[in-house]
Assembly symmetry: C2
Homo-oligomer: 342 residues x 2
Amino acid sequence: MGGDNAPEEVVAGAVAAVREHGARLVLVGQAPRIRQQLDLHGVAGEIPIVHADEALGMGEGALASWRKPRSSVAIACHLIRQGRASALVSAGGTAGVVATSRLRLKGQQGVMRPAIAVALPTRPRPTVLLDAGATSDVRPETLVQFAALGTAYAEITTGLQRPRVGLLNIGSEPGKGDKVTRKAYELLSSGQPGIEFVGNVEGDQLLSGVADVIVTDGFTGNVALKTMEGAVRMAFGELRASLSSARTARLGAALQRRQLRELRDRLDSETYGGGVLLGLNGTVVIAHGAAGARGITSACVLAQRLAAGAIVDRIRDHVAATRTSRFRRQHGEKEQPDPGQP
Amino acid sequence: MGGDNAPEEVVAGAVAAVREHGARLVLVGQAPRIRQQLDLHGVAGEIPIVHADEALGMGEGALASWRKPRSSVAIACHLIRQGRASALVSAGGTAGVVATSRLRLKGQQGVMRPAIAVALPTRPRPTVLLDAGATSDVRPETLVQFAALGTAYAEITTGLQRPRVGLLNIGSEPGKGDKVTRKAYELLSSGQPGIEFVGNVEGDQLLSGVADVIVTDGFTGNVALKTMEGAVRMAFGELRASLSSARTARLGAALQRRQLRELRDRLDSETYGGGVLLGLNGTVVIAHGAAGARGITSACVLAQRLAAGAIVDRIRDHVAATRTSRFRRQHGEKEQPDPGQP
């Protein structure tokens, strides 16, 4: 029920995910409206529906998670907790979806804070940037855990054995950055089992493919992601203006219209799937609010893939291997005693 | 002596600033090499030279400011302290120039931390983003002061009476962001004399012109700026690849080559002047290390303009007007007693 185009485009995208990718889905929301849409696609009865009275509004933030215990997102979380679903997909507003899922699914054991992972359109394979906005205030240990979350995500989505992890920073050398980032660099470069740390990555390298996973706090990550979107949009806007301004150029523009559209599609945020909220007891894929059927289909396929890869278990193992021991002590988890110790 | 193209391009740019813009300059560096360049331009003897034995290397950071007390940047700072210059321009590495100027010029009274202001290529006039990397760890009061610094800078460079100030954040509503940004929003929206606060600005609005000044910490600002540069570079790279890949498109590409180059020049970081270090007892314009003569000329013209606008005095007045009183108390400055008080 979330997003600008629900339920029409959402149902259309879900139907395509079932038909073309063999996804197994449950649709959660206002049953009569969803059934009507399924009828239009001629698949009524083939895709199960779970009714939910309410839906989160696009502008609703954290409070909605308490006010609307029977929103479609809350019900979908309930299905995950019951073991009837492995992941959920929503095109609802990020703040409401994140707050509801955190409340209903809870953080998975050992994970300090959740993070939103986003796949940047680099070549030959996407680069995972996290956190894109779930956790603004972090500690150095949180960033180490984000490296573990991102490694698990990249392993499943790219098939890489040891994805390279970079730390978003304002210089390439050690000692650069703010206090939290400097300390995170120390922790990561001192060697974290299972994490292939390759050092600092600067803003202009986000799209260069120098790392498979790039770690930062949710404030910086969100600003960087939106800055990237705005800059690409501006570059294409300027290009359009430039192409139509010169008479000789207009011919060329006509010839290139198709190439330009394809290119913009690839770079446009709506086409590279949604963000994925990691670190909870269940995977939450947040599609773009303006996503059309195609965007919803890719979000469903991504959710299916992450569930098939057992992302929650993989995160648990990766996080357990990291040396974020201060956190372990503070949260009452005992360190493994050294068996050689008397 | 700084930058990739010193002294050739630096001297050429300085000569153009004198000839075409009536700038009054002193060249600081290795006198024989500078004199040789001036000879080539036929202006030997017309532009004064102050000799400096040493120069900061491009990779040198904060330590260089102590190790090289007679670097060209250190000598230029000395000229400012003596009142023989009003501002300095360098194409040297940012870390070394910032560290040397902070050590030699010292922070101006009442200013907690310096900030680097950069002009983003928005229309119809540039948007000032600060801090682009001088101060990574900030307090809310520091961001209020950055708003004062940016206001002073925008008033002089754009001629606006009340430039609109935005706070870089991860949502438009109050209450968004990390702890420091949330508190800074409170301070700014409670009304700061002389600052026209217009609210939060998101990453994708940096180039939209919704504010004349955008304030953030040096970590986020540096990441955002470099992300923007990387995204624009990538968009044009993709465009080039796309244009040459399709046979029908190749003709168009030939027709548009000039338009594309002009557009890229406008967006390219080297052409929109350098960053300006604000908040010290003297203005420091940091040109891009790869700047050619044209970049150096615009940096000199910018320095001249800021000095003519008495930027240091204007910053002092703007900062004094802000309500960053906790800072005043902590630094032993007495609040003005209320004359109506018994």
